[in-house]
Each structure stands twice: as structure tokens, then as C-alpha cells.
Subunit: 387 residues, 4 copies
């Protein structure tokens, strides 16, 4: 059967609103057209408002992962000792980049269904007072878990180190108190909770983080990995280091406008509600949530353990073909062990949990497992009603 | 809470696919640009293929209701005796137009939750052999009921009368055997099962229907109500009587292309499945379907009786605000007595029934009624699984 | 050679801005969705602001010609004597509709390259004090001429008659003082100077015009030709008589917003400048302007006489294929006698005259005539520089 | 005055067709959605057809300059001796990257208004038989000059070296015989002659170029600068190294489809014609073309010397504000010395030269210089007529 409509309930890119799509279809201006120069400045200012910071964020012209690589290349110098917090696939991956540039990288690793206890960070500093950089993933998209960045930032700040935060799939879906995170470099991207196109990163750089990069003789220049090159790109008086991604900037601007117009508090509440409905629905359906501790579960993506013997790809394929619902599977080491339902930006709407529960339930049944769809939907709607 | 996404599960206009929306945003050509003249001809040809007729359909430049008014104005002459079949609000309404032009109009009326028995049409001809025109509504959108047009057409044909069919909300969602309906004028419109914009009508005119209109001295000319004026408008050699609705034509072309590409059989099956899932879901939720006889229920829109004492507007408002689902209420005489869930074109997708059942169920509960959402969703998915 | 870009410099539809096209591609809302009801009300209010009138304009759901037919059907009663001012093809045509409904129609006809002298209207009233309605075309699109509606309105008002104005191709490109026109019915449409889609009409109806229609027993009801039916359609408390053209309403709203944002004075100045540049350019090219009297020439479309022996279709075809410029030819009785260059809405931009002069000049040369393109472009730019 | 339309006649990004813009506004699919995986494969295959090569091109997810940086990072190893051909700003710039990775870089520099004589390349190899890589810019966008890549490729091939070609602003506007260029790495990008969005690069990699990169221990991996990572990304069986720029891929696919449908020969002819018309028009206007030798002038962008004492920014500002035409100025060392008119992709249309000549001529006059606009337009149209 041909499907006229498909619901993207994945770990992102998570789709876009009609207003964002209309922005992406705008005529492509030349980047030196004063109209574009103005629009770029507006976009940077909207990002500043969304970040609730004093300094203007930097737009890096590659998707989230490029922004993260750029932080390592620019901010981690040959003398740095990096404490890399690993509670998932992306934390593990950041160590690869950190090792490329650092004197030493210390991995602090915990189970991928848990988060890094802030006390362990404190201990690490005690053991190694020479740590100069702490890297943490805010939300581990591949497993739907979050770290307590507020607490970790406070510790890092106390020890005078730089905090590098991968907030790609958290920002825009959960509160991010960037101003309270001290000396930090925070990376997010439009294609997750903001509902924008993949292709850009958005970086918060604290004053001291700028100073560190400037002092780093190895920080890239004249490179896609240079953060310094783009520091002033939003100023009409400064040239762009190279041609910015005009269409993607249109999309970023549109989704920042919508985020601010809806109101960060409302947006976060919408994500929280979708998360709770999905969690409740999945459990009532008969599934086990990936992270045992509720505090570890993200408001932006919900991971569930795949029932024994179930083929992840077959579940996802059935949901897509028969129910028009696209969910995500595992990634890297987690491949084949879990299913993930995103509720990010446009996919964090009230009945998204109902669609996810029904589609997964139908797939499980079709593949021979039990699934209590009725109870799952009842539990999801009950969670919505609780608000 | 701000809703980022809303599901249009109404009685139509029923939304449009991204491909149709992209077509609507195309640059507006001048209507005499050879590129538009060609595109108009293609659209007419696609309509012919969709109608599976020999003659080229006529595009009337007003929404379905305008097309219907035009049939009365053009085809019902001062000598005609019209048998107007009334099984709902729209059938009743057609009598108003018929009386404007006919010598006499005979209303054959049945309860609005039933359909006109073909035997009653046969009887009517026996009583009044001077009947020259029969008017019938294929699908009564306001109550989700269908008439047996095949049988009625056969009788009408046998008695050498003209059949006028309002197939606005049936064509594109259910089989319509236009070629078998004899001397007929059939009206449909893009905004229902085709998923296009409101603003146009699409008319099948049989050869004898053309002859009747040409012979009617009162048939409008130089008028929006003229069907004759537009007979040859699809030919590059003929001028348009007035400026066609360029953007709407783009949309019509796009949705006809999609209809033909998906395949009429697949499209009809998709509507049937959505209808069955909605009917089963609504009953399991605890509601009573409007039409007692399953054969009377449309594949394109499902009507349910409003529980006693329930405020229709309040139900719909709750579903819209809290669940992001828009359903329809009653219309005209039926106002306040029923709820309607459309499954037309883009809204006839597998889980549309699940969304409708959940949203209506939540609203009923919030307003103090009982609603078994879990059972409703289970019944809807069971209907889908039966295929 | 394939043309990647084509300039629509016709007599309309005249294209649309990217912002209008983006609006046309918006998701199609159900017309009873509160979001659409609100948007419709906004559109009517924007039209009121553009009209600078106290009463809310009526949107008729058919293109300009339908709006005009509706004025005749609704406002011309069986007792009316209509003075129909004819200075072109459209004025002549209006008489056809007027005769359908009036007791008597008096045509006051002048050459199609001139305008109706107001003194002749005064004389007509002297001869026939029983005239109750005056019909006038503001801008005759087929010949690029204008009538002095201000003066004619004053006379009509003094004689207590109703003025019906076809301002389809004038409004939005030239000052229209609707408030000063007394008892009047004024019709315009989005596809000319507003740069919107064809498919709607916009009507100003004065209080006395409403009273006349209400008093007319033949005024249509339950019809596409009914103006009365739609009087209150912009009020949230009133139902739409039938489904409005949702997509076209999006387009109308977008172009009214742009018109008001640019500012009527700026818009009119832009059209005037484009007209002067085109007129000067055409004359320097070696062509003769259609209307000898400059006061008769429209700011929205420029007509030139076709040089003797020149094939109009061949000229237009050459301009389109070789220069990517689409211009219009003659219409009706004027067919083959003139060429027309539109400068309406999006096509009234500074260098539009340069494109038109170059394209027509190249075509004339290719077909064996003389054309001084260099002088034509110089004259056009000189006119622009004069401002 | 408000400008409703603006002509982008810059050195790129050069705008996009409506079809490309519609593609950019498509719903953002998740990159792991089978529908996107398929679409990505199609895009790569379309690129292969456009390149007329056997191997599938690589899409790098950063704009042209990122693709060029990636070639240096991936293909220039610590043992390489690079002959860097410098005939303009971009050639000069490539040396910066080459030095970052090479053992030695030899700049062969000529005047920026000329091209590198192939004989000088031959000499360079004679002097330094240890040259392993030759880098050449096909079209120097900042000065509108081209190098004879065919001849340089033949020499490079004979000496068994790798050729790195910056064809960013040449490919799609001029013939590029990639298959004849031997061991080579060729970079282009969508935003110039293809009329796509900036944000991607398209790379041709010959078999031996792949082998070189694989043998280079310093070639980046897990990096935006890695070409190797993306080698097989178009295969459904291989994961994407990171999230591709979904929207930009839509745009790339659309413009490759249009390029192939129009036909490379037709596209090149369209650019050549626009270039000749612009060159002839500019000279007749009274300007001096930047490159004295016609063979050095690009078909994709025309540079003219700025008359003495003229303020480049003032000229461009006048053209933009008063004529709605955006042209480019100088870049880097060439700043303030020249003006550039792009005729790339959508801006290479017949009358683009007329618009450019008129707009620049008006600006020069307004700023006190002489400019013969009439002669300029005549010369431009004469060049068009010559074909």
C-alpha cells in the first residue's frame, strides 16, 4: 500500500514545520547582498536570544558533528589534559577527536544506560588536578540518556577548566542554562529539537573559551574547522571567511524565530509531556525503558530495550510500511539492542506517543511478540492528561 | 500549549501532500503563456484518465458547489421534470437550484441516515413517466452516507433521463464507474479525496448531456455558470472564456498525477481501510455510527451520533486544542447531532483512525462521558490488520 | 536554446513575488478551522485598509470577470436604466451583462484609443434623467487606456445613480479614491497590480449599494453570483456560504500585506515610473503609442500600435523564445492591431521597460522592421532618471 | 523606491530556478529513511552522469572551499612537492593549504589578468622532476579568467603527477573533460553554474587519486575534511559517516536533473552567449575588459576594469538600489579594481547582459563618468544575434 503520510519519530533530523520549509524554499541570495548580510546578523542575534547569553553565538557551516570536531581542533591544545565523560556512543567518539589534539585524554566511562555521577567528576579532578578540559555529552541521542550538565559545569568551573558540551540533541528540547556553565564551549545544531535542516552547528563560546582558542597556536585558521575565523562573521563590517550555507541559514533563522515565539518554557514543557507519554505508553505496551533511572531519561528521545530475539530492522520496517511511522534503532555498539522514539521539535506533539506506541505494538505483534496496544495508548493519554 | 502539528481529519478540504503544496507555490504563469496552455491541456487529459472516460472533462472555475449550480443552470431547462433524490443536506439543497430552472421538481426523500432505495426511483418513473432528469448525491458529506449510483444510473438510463451526480466527496475515494452511468453530468472537486485546493470543479459531461445543454435556450453563456463556454478550453486553439485560476490548476494537476501514480485501486483500498478502522474504532470507543446499515456508510467520511447531552463544539474544541486533531460536526439540519471524521485523500492513512479515536475519546472523557480509548485503538488496528 | 528565466510583462496575470508564492504553498487548512476563520477575517481587514474604506470589502470566489458578472446580476434590477460607458473591449462586454438584467442599457461609446469625456456623461444624464446606474471601466486592459473615474463618479453621484467600476487592472497600480466615489460598486482582483493568483474578486460595496441589492428581488441568493450571501462571511460568527478558495485567500492576504507594507504611494510611484519608461522607450524604439493623449494612458499597461504588415503573434513569439520576455497582443476587436507591455505589481520594476524595449526591438528587426533599440533603452533609462 | 525584484548577476551564489527552490522546501527526511537513502544514491548517480565519469563522485558536506581544503588535507602528503599554478586570488589561496601538508610548494605565478601558459608548466617539470602534484584553478571567479586545464592536465599526466582542479565556477558553465584529465581530483560546487545552494562540494576522484589518499597516512578520517570517509556513502549498504545536509542534497539533485535535462551542450552554449553579450556590451559601454586576451576570459563571469577614480562600492550600490541589479566587485588583492558580472546557471540568460550593461551604465553616469548605454545594449544584442 502506498503511504501518503509518514511520521518521522526518529532520533533526528526530526522534520520541520511548514514555516521552516517555506523559509528553506526562499530565493537563494548572494551572500554579499546587503539583504543577506542583514539576515545573517538577525539569525546570529536570534541564536543569542535562544541561548540567553551575552555573547553572540558562532555558526559553524557543517552539521553538529563538524561543530564538535571544530571544538576539539580549536580549543584542545597540545598541553591540555582532557577528562572525557563517556556515558554513550557519542561521548566515546569525542575521545577520538580529543586524542588527536590533547597531551592526554582520560576517559571516565559508565554504563550506556546511566549517566556520569557528578561526584565521579569531582574525584577525577582530585586524582588529576592537571585536568584542563572536561568534555560531556548533554543528551546521548543513541541511548536517550542525559548527563547532569549543571552539576558537572559547577565542578569544572571550580577547578578552572574548560567545559565542552555536546548539546546537539538537548538544546531546544530541555532547559540549557548556558550562562551558568562558566568557561565553556557548547555545541548544538538545528536538525534536532529546533526542527531545522542538518548542515550547520551553533556554538556558544564563553569569553575565556575565546581567549583559550586565541592562545592555542594549533587552532585552525582558514579552515572549516576554525571557530576563530567566524567569530565576527555576523558583523556587517566583516567579510564571511567563505560562502555561508545560505539556504540552511534561512532554515535556522525560521526555526529560531518559532522557538522564541512559542517560548522556551512552552517548548520544553511540550517535549517533557511527549517524553512522559512515550515512556508511560512504552512500559504499558510491555517494553522496558533503556535507562532504569528516570532522571537519566531524556525529554527529547526515548530508548526502549528490544525484546529478546526480536529483529530491530524488522520492527522498524513494519512500523514504517504498515503504520507510516519511522522510529530509530541502535547506533554503533548499541545496534540491535534498542529502539528509539524521538520527540524533538516538530515530532514532540501530544499524540506522537500514541502513534509510536501503536506502530511499535503492531510491529511486535506481527513479529510474534506480545504488545498491549490498548493499555499503551491509555497510559500515554493518561500521562498527557496529567500534564 | 502551542501545537506544532495539527491533523485535519475533517469532511474536507482535507489538506494536501507536500508535492501538491509545492505545485501550488509554482510561479504564476500568464494564462496565455504557451507553457500554461500546455499545462492546462495536460491537466484536462489527466482528469480524463482519472475519470476513465472518452470525452475530456470540463473544469469549472469555482468550487464543487459552483459546479453543481452550473449543472442546474445549464442542463435543467424550462420543460424539465426533475426527480431529486434526497438522503441528506446536499440532496435537499440541490432541489433549490433545480426549482430555479425546472418546470417541476419532485423530491424523493428518505431519512438522512439511510440511502435512497433504487426501487423507489423505479417507482417514481412509473408514477411520473415525464421525469426527464434525476439528481443524486453520491456521498452525502454532512452525514457520511452513500447512494447506490450504479443502480440508480441504470434505472435512469432505462427511462432515457439525464442523471446529475454530485460526486464531490466520493470521487477519488471510492470507485466511480462514470462510463457506465449513461446520459450523465457528474461533478467532483479537488479538495476532498484528491487532496487539492478548493476553488475548482471537475465535470464529466456525456455526449447527450452536451446535446441537452446546447439545446437549452436558457443555458448560460458568458457566465461563470456556463459549462458550454468551457467545453473546448483545453484545446490550444481555443481561447479561455476568462482567466483560469492558474494556481488552483497547478494543484489540480499535481493531485491528479499522484492519484494516477498511486493507482485508483490502491487509493480506493486505502480509503476503505481507513473507513473500516474508523468505524470499528468509534464503535469500540462506545459511540454509535450514524448510518445503521453498513452499506450506507461512506469510505470517505465517517459520521457518529453525538452522545446525549454532549456539546458538539466542545468536543471538537477539546480534540483540536489538546490532541491537535480537527474533526467536523454537523451541518445544517444535522448541526449538533453528529461528529464526522474524514478520511479523504491525504487524511486516509493507516493510523488516522487511531488519532481520531484517541482525540475524540479524550474529549468525551474530559466532558464527562465514558470512552474506551484502549478498546477503540485496538479495534481500529484490528481492522487495519484485516486489510 | 532553453530559457532558464522568463519575464512576464503581460497584461496580467502578472506573476507573484516569492513571498506570495510561499503563501500559496502553505498547508491547506479546512475552512472551518479557527485558524482559517481568523486568517479570512484578517484578509478582509487588509483589503479594507488597502481600499481605505469604512466598510469591509467582499471577496467573491471567482476571478475579476466573475466579480463583474456578479455586480450586474446583483445590483442591476428590472427597473434600472444603465448608462454603459464604452471606451474599450471590456466596457463593450459589460453591456452584455447589463442587458441581461436591466430595463434598458444606453451605450456611450468612444474610440478605443480614447477615454470617455466626463462632459458626455453629464449630457447623457441631461438627455435621460431616468438613468439609475452608470458602468465604467477604470483601466481598459486590452488597450492600456484609463477613464477619469473621479470626475465620472462626481457626476453620477450628483444624479443619484449607482456607479459600477471595473477597476480590475487599475487598483493597486494607480490611486483609486473609493471613498470619494459615492454610491458605488467597485471590482478589483488580485492577479493584476497586486501580484496575486487569479481566482478571486475583491468588491467595495457602498452602503447604498448594499441597500439597492437587498431591495432587488432578482439579486441572486445561494449562488456564486450572489454578493449578498458573502456580505458577512468575514465575521467569525457567520458561516461561509460555501467553501472559500483557501489557497487563493492565502495568496490574496500575502499580496495585500506587501502592498500595505510597501505603501500605496510608493507602489503607485513605481508603476508610474515603469509606465513612463516603457512609453518613452517604445516611442524612441520607433513605435506609436496606442492612445494619442498621454492622460488616457494607463500606469499599469502600455499599448503600442503594431507596425503595418507586422504579424503580432510572430513578434510575441520571437520575444518569448529569443529574449525570454512575454508581452501581450490585442484582444477581441483589437486582435492583431497592438502589442501590450504590462507593468503591474511584480512586473513594474525599474528595468522592466529596458527588457520590453529590447525584446520587442529584437523581434521587429528579426521580422524585417526597423527598431532603434539603443535609443529606446536610452529613452527608457532617461525616464527612470527623471523619476 | 522599493524594489520588488532583484537580479543576481554576481560571481555566485547565483540564485536558483523555481524547480530548485521547490526541491529545497521539501519535507526534511531523516537521513536513515529508506526514501532518503535512495534519493542520495540517485543524486550521486546524477552527478556521475553530469561529470561523464565512470566512478561515482563524492559529495563533501561543506561549500566549495571546504571541498578544496579537503583535497589538500587528503591528497597532499608529507613527501609531496606541489606545483601551485597562480593566476588569481584563489590559486594564491590554494598554496596556503598545500603548504600545510606538503614537503614543498612551488608557486608558478602570472599576472591576475592572464592565464598560466601550459609551456611554463612543462618547464617547471623540467626544472623539478620531483613535482608530484599540480594544483590549478579552472576559472578564477575573482577575475573572470580561465586556465587551459586540458593542456595542463596532459602535461601533468605525462609526468605522472596528480592534478588538483578547482572547477568550482567553471563546471556546469563550460565544457569540463574530466575523463581526459588523468590522475586527478576535481572540485566543483552547486552554487555557481548549477544554480544550487551553497553548502556542498562535488568531487571527482580518479582511481589513482583514491589510491594516493589511501596511501597517505595523514589523510583525515572521522573528519569533515575526510574524502575517504564518504567514498561509499552513496551505497545503501554503507552508513553515512555523519548526518548529510538533507535539504542541500535535495537542491543538488534538482539542479543536476535540470542540467542533464537541458543538456550540457545547450547549457554551455547558453553561458557562452551570455558571456559574449556581456563582453561586447561592456566594451561598447566604454569599459575595458579585465583580461586582454579573449581566450583568458571565462564564459561564466566577466570582469571589467573599474574606470579611474570610480568607487566600486558606489557603483554596485547604485546598480542595486536604482536598477535592481546586483553585480560583484573585486576580492582580496583585486578589491576596488574591477567589477564582475556573473552569468552562471540561472543568471546566464539572453538579456542578462542588457540588464548588466544598463545598470552599470546608469551607475557610472550617476557617479560622473561617461557610459554609452545605447551602444552597450546594441552591442550586447548583436552578440546574441550572432549566436
Amino acid at each position: 500500500m502506498t503511504l501518503p503520510l509518514q511520521f518521522n519519530l526518529t532520533g533526528g533530523p526530526s522534520g520541520a514545520t511548514p514555516a521552516t520549509l517555506a523559509a528553506l524554499g526562499r530565493p537563494i541570495l548572494n551572500h554579499l547582498d546587503p539583504a543577506f548580510v542583514e539576515l545573517y546578523a538577525q539569525t546570529a542575534e536570534l541564536a543569542r536570544q535562544a541561548f540567553e547569553t551575552a555573547g553572540t553565538p558562532v555558526i559553524v557551516h557543517g552539521e553538529g558533528v563538524v561543530g564538535l570536531e571544530a571544538t576539539a581542533a580549536s580549543a584542545i591544545g597540545a598541553d591540555d589534559v582532557v577528562l572525557n565523560l563517556v556515558s554513550g556512543v557519542f561521548g566515546k567518539g569525542y575521545g577520538y577527536w580529543a586524542r588527536r589534539y590533547a597531551r592526554e585524554v582520560i576517559d571516565l566511562e559508565v554504563g550506556y544506560d546511566s549517566s556520569v555521577p557528578p561526584a565521579r567528576v569531582e574525584e577525577a579532578f582530585r586524582d588529576r588536578p592537571d585536568i584542563t578540559v572536561v568534555a560531556v555529552v548533554h543528551c546521548e541521542t543513541p541511548s536517550g540518556t542525559v548527563n547532569d550538565v549543571d552539576a558537572i559545569a559547577a565542578i569544572t568551573h571550580r577547578h578552572d577548566a574548560l567545559l565542552i558540551v555536546d548539546s546537539v540533541s538537548a538544546f531546544g528540547g530541555m532547559p540549557c542554562r548556558l550562562r551558568d556553565w562558566g568557561d565553556s564551549l557548547v555545541v548544538t545544531a538545528p536538525q534536532k529539537c529546533l526542527g531545522g535542516p542538518p548542515g550547520l552547528s551553533l556554538l556558544h563560546v564563553s569569553d575565556r573559551a575565546w581567549a583559550r582558542m586565541e592562545a592555542n597556536p594549533n587552532a585552525p585558521r582558514a579552515s572549516i574547522l576554525s571557530i576563530l575565523d567566524w567569530r565576527d562573521a555576523h558583523l556587517a563590517t566583516k567579510p564571511f571567511p567563505f560562502t555561508p550555507s545560505v539556504t540552511d541559514i534561512y532554515g535556522l533563522r525560521a526555526c529560531l524565530q518559532q522557538y522564541l515565539q512559542e517560548g522556551p518554557g512552552n517548548v520544553h514543557q511540550r517535549h517533557r509531556l511527549a517524553a512522559r507519554a512515550t515512556q508511560a505508553g512504552a512500559e504499558a505496551l510491555g517494553l522496558t525503558l533503556w535507562a532504569p533511572d528516570p532522571a537519566t531519561r531524556s525529554d527529547t528521545v526515548t530508548a526502549v530495550r528490544l525484546p529478546d530475539g526480536m529483529d530491530e530492522r524488522a520492527v522498524r520496517e513494519h512500523a514504517r510500511v504498515n503504520s507510516g511511522v519511522l522510529v530509530s534503532g541502535g547506533h554503533g555498539d548499541l545496534s540491535g539492542r534498542l529502539l528509539r522514539v524521538g520527540h524533538m521539535g516538530p515530532s514532540a506533539f501530544p499524540l506522537s506517543a500514541v502513534l509510536a506506541v501503536t506502530a511499535i505494538g503492531r510491529a511486535l505483534r506481527a513479529l510474534g511478540a506480545k504488545a498491549d496496544i490498548g493499555s499503551g495508548v491509555e497510559a500515554a493519554t493518561a500521562a498527557l492528561d496529567e500534564g
